[in-house]
Amino acid sequence: MSGLGIDASFLDLPFRHLADVALGRAADLGVTHADFRFERVRYQDLHVRDGSLLGTQDSSDVGFAVRVVHGGAWGFASGVVLTEDEARHVAERAVEVARVAAAMTTVPVELADEPVYPDVSWTSPYEIDPLEVPVAEKVALLVDFTERLRAHDVVGHATAGLRQVRENKFYADLAGTRTTQQRVRLMPEVTAMGADAERGIFDSMTSIAPPVGRGWEYLVGRPDAGGWDWDAELAEMPDLLAEKLRAPSVEAGTYDLVIHPSNLWLTIHESIGHATELDRALGYEANYAGTSFATYDQLGSLRYGSPVMNVTGDRTAPHGLASIGWDDEGVATQSWDIVKDGVLVGYQLDRVMGRQKLELNDGRSNGCAYADSPGHIPIQRMANVSLQPDPDGPSTEGLIERVERGIYVVGDKSWSIDMQRYNFQFTGQRFYKIEDGRLAGQLRDVAYQATTTDFWGSMEAVGGPETYVLGGAFNCGKAQPGQVASVSHGCPTALFRGVRILNTGEEAGK
């Protein structure tokens, strides 16, 4: 699968020569492993508020990194000066860091084997590079979005933002692998804000269009050709906001939930995606992002959820935000099972973990190493972790019809989960009361709270393929120094029985 081909201005950069110099110097210093990563990541951010451009920013991160194993310890260094001298110097610094680290490294670093890919390339599928579209055209579209919303009396203020990214990477290692890759992603977000003066409340309604690994066609293309139906979404947002402002406050208690993919993707991200990162389960993130309840000793036995729960890890999904050809350790990316029929059967791995757990994936990494910039060391990051639909499953309406007293949840908003991924609490954009299998208007002040295995154990049914949506995020944080990663999560609409609902106003003591 390919997009527009790798940007010629990236190919003109001297990364191959710098790689040869840096890897050569590392080899001279006696390393047992060395890899070189050269990146250019371009960002453009546009921000419109109430029909006016608030700000634009073009930025790029360009540089290279050398990572070595020397004396059984990791060493890493990076720089931005693109000269032979600097490549040599950065390699020397990486070895020096490893020397300092070796005295405190009690478990020698070993990497899982991986075939050598001598000179390969990959580009993500998209039609129009958003960074090549004139800024004025993009700003005009966002201004139009906010003006359409503000044409309605209920909308006091409207904002629109667009982040665009084009990421180029070159990877080389002493084993002989050379990969050159390019991918494009973008994240639009539109919000309408309003107030009900009589009730003394304000609220907002944000678009549910997910961030995607697509080009500009996502904003202006036909819905049947990968474009989002912005006309439809913008047209309904003011009325949805007005209804939300008028809606009654929820009565706290236990409800059945039908959760739309625009909300469920985030619950998957937090309670499955992070929980099945093997580095967390092994303690590597214990000081910061946390560990996992899904410990390795429970592989093959942990009842993660109900039998209708099937979750895959996939770094090859078309338009996925975590999709790539080879990861940042030169591993060809893959797809695999994480939860099968409700039981934990797999983890996300990098090469260190693949070596430690030889019984997983035949002792091979499944391609989950990623660094968000040339200045950061690759760590195990999330694949596109997705809940699979039931091939014969019902529509969203069919799931709602099964509920006597419940709530239908659409869109994400607030999220929080504990450091072992047990206890979570989420809100959303819209909560609809379900009475006798039918929607009965919106509710306000709703949050759902559960324990991960209880929640997924309560999943009675998943929708059919026509309910499946690939959601995701640009801002998944992890590691020290902190890194962010983009990741997609696909899922169908799903039905959960007996979930705790909080009234957020009561939680605030009102």
């Binding site: 608030l54 260094a77 005295a103 478990v107 804000m193 304000f202 989960i417 504990d418 609490q425 949050a447």
Partner: protein, 463 residues
């Protein structure tokens, strides 16, 4: 052999090359080194350096000023001149900016000609061997350590066609360590900020972690509910940083934050916290020295590219319980009719009469909880500033002024605004380090607070 141009040369050449009516150039050099460990062994370690150049081009027209902003890693003149070209082009293509204002005037600061400051892996010359000792002690005692030390020295140079030549060196360091017994059935955490690591002793913090794990020899299960709760300065910092971040004047003025006055306008001038509460920032605050001028590459609700070089002055956000200031650029200050108060890089909470330490507040608690660490804090409801989050790495039962056991973790739902009204006791303000946000906002000074009815919404099984 060629040498790389200095940051000052990059600034001057970029300003000279710009064909726009005005330009601002920001060069930020960084140098950092870190060590990370888990399971009593080092994991990922590194030493990084970078030079980031931002060129802001201003195109003046009859109907206003348009801005082009381009930032990139760059280290030679050709790269910087390419950035200038991109910024000039972007400015010509842009619409006029709403926040247009006169650029800040200035002259060269006395230290303008000084080179960038740097750090290296050598900053850990004393810490690294002590860390090795701590690993040995912990391993021998049936404990496992996980942690991180990071030191960064950033030097920022700001130059403009209106004469501004400013330089600031910002050392930022922090350390944190989590300990668990080999059974992994409990956890303790300590951490702090530092400017140079001269004051960080891994042997000492390993001993403190051992002491805390010892408190877990007795386990107590408690249900969700409201508890008399002692928050140490680190947890107070977690909540106050969020309070600062949501204090944008424009959002408040537009009726979208807890600082919005029902019916329009902001709550500036209202009593929003208990008398004696003072939340403030000052670039020169001892131990929390922070950049004293604006340097920003993009305009937002709380910042403006036209304000580059504007002094960040000491500001009271809340004084004697009264909301006195909100985050403003010159533009949003005009819109909201409030004083200009750019975003600071430090934050201090003082409570009049506050005295003593966390331990002193614990000693005065008949029955309650000591929460040592908060985590995953997010806004649930912006209108009430309701936050949710969790305790982690050590919640302890206090009985008769003594710590008597380890309690399960909880999810909380609370508003920091409410807490500043409801606390019953406050300690003395001390330098602190936010558990969740300290990696990004490390310059805080806060007291321990005792909250009589902290809302623990549900139990978390996490250990």
């Amino acid at each position: 052999m060629t040498t790389s141009p200095t940051p000052q040369e990059l600034v001057e050449r970029a300003l000279a090359a710009s064909r726009s009516d005005d330009a601002v150039v920001i060069v930020r050099t960084t140098s950092s080194a870190n060590l990370r460990w888990a399971n009593n062994t080092l994991t990922t370690n590194g030493e990084m350096s970078g030079v980031q150049v931002s060129v802001l081009a201003f195109d003046r027209r009859a109907d206003g000023v348009a801005v082009g902003s381009v930032t990139s890693a760059a280290s030679d003149l050709a790269q910087v001149l390419a950035l200038v070209e991109l910024a000039d082009t972007a400015a010509r293509a842009a619409d006029v900016a709403d926040d247009a204002a006169d650029l800040v005037d200035g002259v060269a600061a006395p230290d303008w000609a000084e080179p960038p400051a740097r750090t290296s892996i050598g900053v850990y010359d004393a810490v690294a061997p002590a860390l090795g000792t701590a690993f040995g002690t912990a391993g021998g005692g049936g404990r496992v350590l996980y942690g991180f030390v990071d030191h960064e020295v950033a030097t920022v140079y700001v130059g403009s066609t209106t004469g501004l030549r400013l330089r600031h060196v910002q050392p930022t360091g922090h350390w944190a360590c989590t300990a668990k017994p080999t059974s992994l059935d409990q956890s303790a955490w300590v951490g702090g900020a530092t400017r140079d690591f001269a004051d960080v002793d891994p042997v000492a913090f390993e001993a403190e972690l051992t002491r805390r794990l010892g408190w877990g020899s007795r386990r107590v299960d408690l249900p969700a509910g409201r508890y008399d709760t002692v928050l140490p300065p680190t947890s107070t910092a977690d909540l106050m940083i969020y309070l600062l971040w949501i204090s944008g004047a424009l959002d408040a003025h537009d009726g979208q934050s807890v600082w919005s006055r029902p019916g329009g306008g902001t709550r500036v001038g209202e009593q929003v916290a208990a008398p004696g509460v003072r939340l403030h920032s000052a670039p020169a605050y001892p131990g929390l020295e922070a950049v004293p001028f604006v340097h920003t590459t993009a305009s937002s609700e709380t910042s403006s590219v036209f304000d580059n070089g504007l002094p960040i002055v000491p500001t009271d956000w809340i004084r004697d319980g009264v909301l006195t200031s909100l985050l403003t650029s010159r533009h949003s200050a005009r819109v909201t009719d409030l004083p200009v108060n750019p975003a600071p890089d430090n934050l201090v909470l003082d409570v009049a009469g506050g005295a003593g330490t966390t331990e002193d507040l614990v000693a005065g608690t008949e029955r309650g909880l000591l929460v040592t660490s908060l985590w995953y804090i997010r806004v649930v409801d912006p209108q009430s500033m309701l936050l949710t989050g969790l305790t982690r790495d050590g919640v302890y039962l206090v009985e008769g002024g003594e710590i008597t056991g380890l309690v399960t973790n909880f999810r909380f739902n609370e508003s920091p605004v409410e807490l500043l009204n409801r606390f019953s006791h406050a300690g003395a303000t001390e330098l602190s380090f936010s558990r969740e946000w300290g990696d990004y906002f490390s310059r805080t000074a806060t007291p321990a607070l005792r909250i009589p009815d902290f809302n623990m919404s549900s139990v978390s099984q996490a250990q």
